[in-house]
């Protein structure tokens, strides 16, 4: 049975890397939790270790200290339970749109051909990619490519979706469309989402919780619970509670 509260728990997490025999700490004593069916946005300055945190949760880089617990189980190594979408090189260029999503689905829990086919069709529809399904990624815009990557990751049926600045390279209009897509997809899925973003208003708009990473080595300096999350789709006109959170985050980052 899936745990509803503290579905993801990050406790006392420290991560770093070796640079010429010297260990460099990137993250130190990071605490964070995410409940089931919740979006947690991670925000911080460039180089504050946001991507490192996602990679550590995904099991792509070793943890020095502390633990990551997902659905009551200790995270060790990479697995399909924690699907990661990068900002760049997010789609496999040698596979068509359909091929990309199919690959994800074939990595899922149920790989019977009829289940894979139904799942691919469902995701093609929900991400608005049905009419592009036989195109190569190079024929798609950046926003469309991100849709493919998100659909492929969801197709593998992860417990947690890790999005590393997925809209960072997109233009303002496409970014708005993608934020709306994430909100609409989120209503259909059971997964939790950890979203790394530079955009304070984007974080306040779509997240249930916003965590600020700061310091060197970085740690979670503050976590905000956003009241009435996703009550608007317009980041330019946030509801008052979300505007307050966005202002608080901005003030704290500026004061650093």
């Amino acid at each position: 049975m899936t745990r509803k509260n503290n579905f993801l728990e990050i406790q006392d997490l420290s991560v770093g890397y070796y640079e010429e025999d010297e260990y460099v700490d990137v993250l130190s004593k990071v605490y964070l939790s995410c409940n089931v069916h919740e979006i947690v946005a991670i925000i911080g300055k460039s180089g504050s270790g946001k991507t490192t945190l996602l990679k550590a949760i995904a099991g792509l880089i070793p943890i020095r200290d502390g633990k990551v617990i997902l659905d009551g189980k200790l995270v060790i190594g990479s697995a399909r339970e924690r699907g990661l979408v990068f900002q760049e090189y997010c789609v496999f260029p040698w596979l068509t749109v359909r091929g990309n999503i199919e690959l994800g689905s074939k990595c899922g829990a149920d790989t019977r051909p009829e289940v894979v086919k139904d799942e691919v069709e469902r995701l093609l529809k929900s991400t608005g990619l049905l009419e592009h399904q036989y195109k190569w990624p190079s024929q798609l815009s950046g926003g469309m490519q991100q849709r493919v990557a998100i659909a492929r990751t969801l197709a593998a049926d992860p417990l947690l979706l890790l999005l590393d600045e997925p809209f960072g390279a997109l233009d303002a209009i496409t970014r708005l469309q993608m934020q709306e897509l994430i909100q609409s997809i989120f209503e259909e899925i059971k997964q939790g989402i950890l979203l790394v973003t530079h955009d304070i208003r984007e974080a306040a708009l779509i997240a249930d919780k916003v965590a600020l990473l700061s310091g060197s080595p970085a740690t979670t300096s503050k976590v905000w619970n956003v009241p009435n999350p996703r009550s608007s789709t317009n980041p330019l006109k946030l509801p008052p509670e979300q505007e307050r959170v966005a202002t608080e985050i901005f003030t704290l980052i500026k004061a650093e």
Binding site: K55, G83, Y89, P93, W94, W136, P137, S138, T153
Partner: protein, 240 residues
């Protein structure tokens, strides 16, 4: 090309040496060599040797480079010896191969293998390294591991670069064949070149070099076409 011919012809006229044929004399011999059935029989014999030697190189270099790319310990054991051999010029192996493998076709195949395999391993590894690591990282978070990761991600992600490497190094295989055909050859395009040199038939020698060049361009285009056919996604990729 016209400029090269003009310079050649100019120098031939100035030197007026029988060792430097004029463009007109070369032009007279060209159709005779091109319509001669024997030229093609020798060319085919050479192609078969190149395909054997170069094919063997690819078959062994691909898994070796994958293992070196994936396993640091394996690359530390294997690569130093490869690096050592890579720096020994192929012609230096001719006497050794002739003693070990005789003066038949096997020696020629081995020489082509030595000339290309040790280079291919390093270029293949570099092809794997230049592929964005995000592809493998994304795939690992889909649950792909081990051989499945190599088969479904590592190889397809680098395939277009690998095929480009094969196309470029094919020209090297062809060069080493001519080195190999110096050894007691009785057939092959290299043999024809050596024969022309021995009787100082310089017109025929130059024409044979032209034939080799034309064949090279033809092969290069075939391999370019094969790459686009095998990797159809490159047709729309502006970065190809």
């Amino acid at each position: 090309m016209i400029l090269v011919i003009a310079i050649w012809d100019g120098v031939a006229h100035i030197t007026n040496s029988p060792l430097m044929p004029t463009a007109r004399n070369i032009g007279k011999v060209l159709p005779k060599v091109i319509i001669n059935k024997d030229t093609y029989l020798h060319l085919i014999a050479s192609i078969i040797l190149v395909l054997k030697g170069f094919g063997l190189s690819i078959i062994i270099a691909l898994p070796t480079s994958i293992l070196c790319f994936r396993l640091k310990i394996y690359s530390r054991i294997v690569l130093p010896s490869h690096e050592f051999i890579r720096y020994i010029p192929v012609p230096a192996f001719v006497p050794l191969c002739a003693v070990l493998f005789g003066i038949g076709d096997l020696t020629k195949v081995i020489l082509i293998f030595i000339g290309t395999y040790f280079q291919l391993v390093f270029i293949f590894i570099s092809d794997f390294l230049t592929t964005p690591k995000e592809f493998e990282e994304s795939a690992r978070t889909l649950g792909l591991k081990g051989l499945k990761l190599i088969y479904k991600i590592t190889i397809p992600a680098s395939l277009s670069n690998l095929l480009n490497t094969v196309r470029i190094t094919f020209a090297w295989a062809w060069s080493y064949l001519l080195v190999a055909e110096v050894v007691n050859a009785t057939r092959g395009i290299g043999y024809l070149v050596i024969q022309s040199y021995r009787v100082l038939n310089m017109e025929r020698l130059v024409v044979l070099l032209i034939v080799i060049g034309i064949f090279g361009i033809l092969t290069d285009n075939i391999l370019k076409f094969a790459r686009i056919t095998i990797c159809p996604w490159l047709k729309n990729d502006k970065k190809k």
